[in-house]
Structure formats: structure tokens, C-alpha cells
């Protein structure tokens, strides 16, 4: 292997060389560098289509990397301080899937917080692993679930010493971090692997004054959404692997479900973005940090909005806070987060990442400018002026403690019956119900449907959240376990 140089970008360079070689393509894709689909080429651009190519000798193969992809992945591992890295073309969901399936077989236990991304529970349905949920605490003022409590984890580990892995959201969508170092050392002392959903933490590896990254904390695997704060194309992600994980086995697991036609648009975007972060990441995230801090202080100055920051740190369930995140609690304006989200988009042409019951999250990144931040702040000031009412009658809790009756897999594949949501109370759910975004299930397969949960779903619906997950696209009916009827 060559000496690694972070200024190089092997996949990107191989694609540029390919263009110069003027090879006559008698392979797929059939659009042949865009010539066969002029409308698409006109829309996406000739430059883009000319590198939408198939695996070939000089471009390596994602399913079995030996040259440029292997080199790019090695550079990436070095940049992130990991032992190995894998370029992933089906999003961070595919990283999550690969992590869990690499350490859990059917029937194996995995300890995780219930406020995980849908992709985690989806993986449990596929592989048959058994979830042991740790309930995240709630910050009642904000209505958001927090990080993983070390003492609760210890309890769960002692009750389930046979568990294979501990899964952590770090940071959460809202920027909340757990005590990753402590969690890792605790889990490792019981021989459990530590898997981290680091979808919102790419920048932790490059910026200053940010929470610790999973690899630095000693975690075994981490799923990194390079396309979120890292600047690569949507759907491109990175799976990071530590030294106590057999990377060749991980490759086999990835290949169980990975496409054999990995997109070079996505791969080159990972390669170029890694180079960018390795060379300029510190400077880039310093600017993001400053913009987020500026926006936060301006928004807090408006009054009634609460753009929270590291003052919520409590030493355990909020061990650290990612200050590049801009979450804004809207309840004191008298509006639900989702209502502010809708007003921003419909009336002010401002699209934020998501709105839930109590908060909106405005995603600040390397692509932002102060000019655009003024628009967000200006719009929020106007919304307050025009809509301000007393603190709204709003449900004060985002998280509802689930009762798990069956594993997700058993429930998902069981005999089912459709009933209306309001008639479903007391039965076992066999599908997901969630607001998207953020895509954290309110109900997962195998969980008891309670009145509290149904009320919450109806409330979220009334407020305008997009509910997804059920077979019934309108979420009026829900599929329950048949035996219960």
C-alpha cells in the first residue's frame, strides 16, 4: 500500500483519468455517458452523467475493493482515526444495518435506547436480534429525549449479561451526547461491543470544541452520515470500524444487502468530501460553529423562542452538547414546533430540517451564510410578532415508554389484522408509527398500544406531522396481532 496522503482523492482521480482515456463504452449504464438520455443529461449536466459509470478495472469494485476504492477507504479510516472504513451507498441506514448484523445473530440481545432511528428496529426485524430497551430520560421543558444514562446502562447490562452489543445515538438529532467513554469502557468490561449511530456527528472528527467522536472514545463501530455535516451527496455514508472488529466479516455482511452497482457519483462525493474535511475541516466547522452560535444568540434575543445550548448539560443523560446544532423550542410563542416549521416554509420560503411537537431544528452547515441566517432569524421574529399567543395547550412529553411484548421480528411476521387506530388500544402493534422527520418510531412492531400512545399519534396528526410507517398510508388504521382479537 502506498503512503497515505490526505491531499489525494483516489476515486476522484481515477474518474478524471477515465474521462481522458476516451474509452468506448460497451458496458452499462445504458445511457452511455448520458448520450442516450438527452433530457436527463440536460437536467443533471454532461459532467455528471459522464462519470455515472460502472465498476471496471481502473475504478475498482465496491463489493471487493482492491485498488482505488480500497485506497480511498484507507485514507478515510486514517482521517477519522478508525482501523477500517467502508464507503456506503445506501445511506446511514445501511451502515446501521451492517453494524448490528456484524455483531448480532438471530436471538442475540442488543441493548439500545428506544429513541433510535427506524433503521435500527428495521434491522432487528431482518436479523431477529432481541432489543433490550433503555428508556431515555426526557427534558420536560423541551419535550425531547436525552442521551444514555450510564447507571441505567449498567443495570441493563447486569440484567442481560449475555447481550452482544450496546447501541448508542451519539449525538441525537438535537445534538445531545452521552458519556461515550464511560459507556464504552463499561460495555467492553462485559465483553459487549459498542455500536454508535453517529449520523449527526461527522464534524466531531474534524472540528474543535466539539464532543468526542465514537472512534476516539474507543467504540467498535460507527455509522457516519457523510452527507449530513460532511458535505457529500445524499445517500452516501461511511461505516467506521475499530480494531477489535473483523473487517473482512463486516464486508461479507455489507455484501448481503448492498447493491453490486455502487454509484460512482456517491463514491466520488465521499472521496472528495473526505479530502476536504481532512484538509480544511477544522476551519470549515469553526465557521459552522460561529454561525450556529450567532443564530442562537439572535434567536434567543427575540424572546419566547428558546434556542438551547450547553446549559442543558447534566453530567449524565446530557453529557455533552453539539453547539453546531440549532434546535429551537417554540412552545412559549404559543405554537408547536411543527406549526412554526409549516409557517416558515409556506409563508417565508424557509425550509428547516424538522419540526416536532415542541421544537424546530434548523440545520446549519458548511453551505450556509450569514445572509441566509438573517432570513431565518427575521422570519422567526415575524412569526412571533404575528402569531404570539399564550403558551399553547400542548402535550408536554415527546417520549412514551413502550411495553415490549414480542420481538420486532416475531410481531412483524405474525398474523395481523387491521383495526382503526382508536379501537387498537390494548393490542400489540405489528408495524411502525412515526413522524417523519425525525423518523423515530412512536410505536414499533411488538409493542403494546396504549391510550396515551394513540392520543399522542392523533395529536401529532392534528398538528400537521407527517405520519409514516403503517401499511395504511393515511394512518387511520393500524395492524395488530391477530391472536389478541
Amino acid at each position: 500500500m502506498k503512503i497515505l496522503n490526505q491531499a489525494s482523492a483516489p476515486i476522484y482521480e481515477a474518474l478524471k483519468n477515465l474521462k481522458n482515456e476516451r474509452i468506448v463504452p460497451f458496458d452499462v449504464p445504458g445511457h452511455k455517458r448520458g448520450k442516450g438520455n438527452q433530457e436527463l443529461t440536460g437536467f443533471l449536466g454532461e459532467k455528471c452523467l459522464s462519470v455515472d459509470v460502472n465498476s471496471m478495472k481502473q475504478l475498482d469494485n465496491l463489493c471487493h475493493p482492491v485498488s482505488v476504492i480500497k485506497e480511498a477507504e484507507a485514507l478515510c479510516a486514517q482521517a477519522f482515526g478508525a482501523e477500517n472504513s467502508f464507503f456506503m451507498v445506501n445511506g446511514t441506514s445501511s451502515c446501521v444495518q451492517a453494524m448490528i448484523m456484524s455483531v448480532c445473530k438471530s436471538g442475540d440481545k442488543i441493548i439500545l435506547p428506544r429513541n433510535v432511528h427506524i433503521s435500527v428496529i428495521n434491522t432487528l426485524i431482518i436479523c431477529g436480534a432481541v432489543p433490550i430497551y433503555i428508556n431515555p430520560e426526557i427534558n420536560v421543558r423541551l419535550g425531547i429525549p436525552l442521551g444514555m444514562s450510564v447507571s441505567k446502562l449498567k443495570l441493563a447490562i447486569e440484567e442481560n449479561p449475555d447481550a452482544k452489543a450496546v447501541f448508542v445515538n451519539n449525538p441525537t438529532y438535537y445534538g445531545i451526547c452521552s458519556n461515550l467513554v464511560e459507556i464504552t469502557s463499561l460495555a467492553h468490561s462485559y465483553g459487549m461491543k459498542v455500536l454508535v449511530d453517529e449520523a449527526h456527528g461527522t464534524h466531531f472528527y474534524f472540528g474543535k470544541n466539539l464532543p468526542i467522536s465514537a472512534m476516539k472514545a474507543g467504540a467498535d463501530m460507527s455509522a457516519v452520515s457523510m452527507h449530513k455535516s460532511g458535505g457529500s451527496l445524499t445517500q452516501s455514508s461511511i461505516l467506521l470500524v475499530g480494531k477489535n472488529i473483523n473487517a473482512n466479516y463486516v464486508m461479507q455482511i455489507i455484501n448481503l444487502t448492498q447493491t453490486t452497482s455502487g454509484s460512482y457519483l456517491l463514491l466520488s462525493s465521499l472521496d472528495i468530501s473526505r479530502r476536504n474535511l481532512a484538509l480544511d475541516g477544522e476551519k470549515i466547522f469553526e465557521k459552522v460553529f460561529e454561525m450556529a452560535e450567532y443564530a442562537r444568540s439572535e434567536i434567543n434575543d427575540i424572546g419566547n423562542y428558546y434556542a438551547f445550548s450547553d446549559e442543558i448539560i447534566n453530567g449524565d443523560t446530557v453529557f455533552d452538547f453539539d453547539r453546531t446544532k440549532l434546535s429551537i423550542n417554540t412552545l412559549d410563542v404559543g405554537l408547536a414546533g411543527i406549526e412554526v416549521y409549516d409557517i416558515l416554509r409556506d409563508e417565508y420560503d424557509v425550509q428547516v430540517e424538522f419540526g416536532d411537537i415542541g421544537n424546530i431544528l434548523a440545520y446549519i452547515s458548511m453551505g450556509d451564510s450569514y445572509k441566509n441566517i438573517e432570513r431565518l432569524v427575521g422570519a422567526l421574529a415575524e412569526i412571533k410578532r404575528r402569531y404570539k399567543k399564550g403558551k399553547a395547550d400542548i402535550l408536554d412529553c415527546e417520549y412514551i415508554n413502550p411495553t415490549v411484548c414480542l420481538t420486532p421480528k416475531k410481531a412483524f411476521y405474525a398474523e395481523k389484522q387491521s383495526v382503526s387506530l382508536s379501537d387498537s388500544v390494548g393490542n400489540i402493534c405489528t408495524e411502525f408509527v412515526m413522524c417523519y422527520p425525525p423518523g423515530i418510531p412512536i410505536l414499533a412492531p411488538g409493542e403494546l398500544i396504549t391510550k396515551e400512545i394513540v392520543d399522542y399519534i392523533l395529536y401529532a396528526k392534528e398538528k400537521g406531522c407527517l405520519l409514516t410507517g403503517t401499511e395504511d398510508l393515511t394512518t387511520q388504521n393500524i395492524k395488530i396481532l391477530k391472536e389478541d382479537i
Binding site: D349, K371, E374, R375, V377, G378, A379, A381, R385, R386
Partner: protein, 283 residues
């Protein structure tokens, strides 16, 4: 030598002005600034390649954006100009002895400095003691102001690029808040003629109508702007632009103008049918 400045007014139409020499060119953190000298239009200023003003026709724009609202609001004491780094609007405002305070918010100090050096015929407006200059984002400045101004003049660039934030609903809403209860806002309102400009024009009108009870549009002929047919917005909390015009009082001020007069004031609101139709679409 055959040196020309050209600006595309649409993809298929351009206006070219013969240039004698280029006096200045610089790209700063906001935009590219150029100053030219030309035989036909004299000195002219462009930002990102778009014509801002020429020595020959700037009087039309500046008189129409200042004297028209000033002839309606008889008690204006405090005025805010947003944009307008060339100083032309200030120059016209300074003709009113009754004004006590004229604030101007310009995002790009370089524009002001360049105008002071190369366009003294407009930048002379900065010399008045009543003028306070703030170099910052207009949207941010206005956000922090409440019930403060009698008149706000939005003298912006086009809604693509630096001036984009000054064509938004949040900006107009914040202007409403910054005005006193009988305040007036006038703004550069783009052109109704070419399709792309008309879209921006309609959008601005829609956004203004959402914030102000009284929102009217008036026109002027500005030869160096796309199509030459240019619009201004008149938005107000209380005064109507024609009904509340006090022609006699304004004439008694004895302000010398080359374009504006109180008859033209009324005429400027009489719009062509196709423009009325465009506006009705969004009202």
C-alpha cells in the same frame, strides 16, 4: 478602440453602452463593483454586472423614490434608507429641511467609498449632518427597530444575489413593525415587462400586500433599466398615495426637480392594463 459594456436584459436581449474607460473594478466579499465612464451616459456604476445608475438618468429613479412619498407624508421626521449606497436617495432627502434624522443601512461599505470617489454627483448626499450610516445587513438592522420611522425607502439591488433578503416577507413584515402608525414604505419594485422580471415583481407585490393594508404600485421611465419601464412600491399603514397628496404644500417647499411633479405623482399610479392584471393576480 471599441469598448462596450453589455448587460443581458433577458437571455435574448442586451443593452450595450459604449465605454470610454473603466474607472474602477473590485470584487469584495459581497459582490463585484465596477465604475465606467461613457460618452452617452457619463459615469455609471454596475454591481455584479447589473446596471445600478448612470449619471444621465439617475435623477429619475432618485426623485421618484423620495419625493413621491415625501409629498404624501407631511410630518416625516425620521427616515430610513435601506441599500442606496450611491447616496442618490440621501441627496434628494436632504432637500427637506423638516427631516431631523436620516439613517442609511448599506451592507457594503466598499460601494459607499467607491461612490464617494467616482460618483460625487450622488454621493454628495452623505455630507449632510442629519445622515447616519450603518454598514450592516438591512434585514438584521430592521429586525431590531420598532415603531421608529416615518418613511422607509428600500433602494435595493435585484432580488437575485446580495439584495435577495430585501424582497422577502420577513423583511417587509419587519419594515411594517419598524414604521410608526402612519408610516410609509417605498421600494424598488422591478419591471413588469420581461417574464423573469415580472415574476420577481409579482412576488414582491404579493409579499408587500401580505404585510401592509395599503399597497400600490407606481411607475417611471428609466432608460438604462431592463425594458425602461420601471416600478416602485408604495406601502403604507394610513396614507393613500393620491388621496392624501397635498400638492400645494409640496409645491410651496420650492424643491427643484427635473422629473417629479405633483401631476406626474398622480399619473404614475395610472398603470397599463397588463400591469394591473399582473398585480391583481397576487392581491
Amino acid at each position: 478602440m471599441d469598448l462596450w459594456f453589455s448587460e443581458f436584459h433577458t437571455k435574448n436581449v442586451k443593452l450595450s453602452i459604449k465605454v470610454d474607460k473603466q474607472l474602477y473594478s473590485k470584487t469584495d466579499e459581497f459582490q463585484r463593483i465596477d465604475v465606467f465612464d461613457s460618452p452617452e451616459f457619463g459615469i455609471f456604476l454596475t454591481l455584479d454586472g447589473y446596471m445600478m445608475l448612470t449619471q444621465k438618468d439617475e435623477f429619475i429613479y432618485h426623485e421618484m423614490i423620495v419625493h413621491l412619498p415625501m409629498a404624501v407624508h407631511k410630518n416625516a421626521k425620521k427616515v430610513l434608507v435601506i441599500g442606496g449606497g450611491d447616496g442618490g436617495a440621501l441627496r434628494e432627502l436632504c432637500k427637506y429641511k423638516s427631516l431631523e434624522c436620516i439613517d442609511i443601512v448599506e451592507i457594503d461599505k466598499e460601494v459607499v467609498d467607491v461612490c464617494k470617489k467616482y460618483l460625487p454627483f450622488t454621493a454628495c448626499g452623505f455630507d449632510d449632518k442629519r445622515v447616519n450610516v450603518y454598514y450592516q445587513d438591512g434585514l438584521k438592522f430592521i429586525r431590531k427597530s420598532k415603531n421608529e420611522y416615518d418613511l422607509i425607502i428600500v433602494d435595493s439591488t435585484d432580488p437575485f444575489g446580495v439584495g435577495e433578503g430585501l424582497f422577502t416577507k420577513e423583511f417587509y413584515g419587519n419594515c411594517y413593525k419598524a414604521l410608526k402608525e402612519d408610516g410609509i414604505m417605498v421600494n424598488q419594485h422591478e419591471s413588469p415587462f420581461y417574464d423573469e422580471d415580472a415574476v420577481a415583481m409579482k412576488r414582491a407585490h404579493k409579499r408587500i400586500c401580505e404585510s401592509f393594508d395599503i399597497a400600490r404600485v407606481y411607475q417611471a421611465h428609466i432608460p438604462t433599466y431592463p425594458s425602461g419601464h420601471w416600478l416602485f412600491g408604495f406601502a403604507s399603514k394610513k396614507y393613500y398615495p393620491i388621496k392624501d397628496l397635498d400638492a400645494k404644500s409640496w409645491q410651496e417647499l420650492g424643491i427643484k426637480t427635473r422629473y417629479y411633479n405633483t401631476n406626474l405623482h398622480k399619473g404614475a399610479f395610472m398603470l397599463p392594463n397588463y400591469v394591473e392584471d399582473l398585480l391583481k393576480d397576487v392581491e
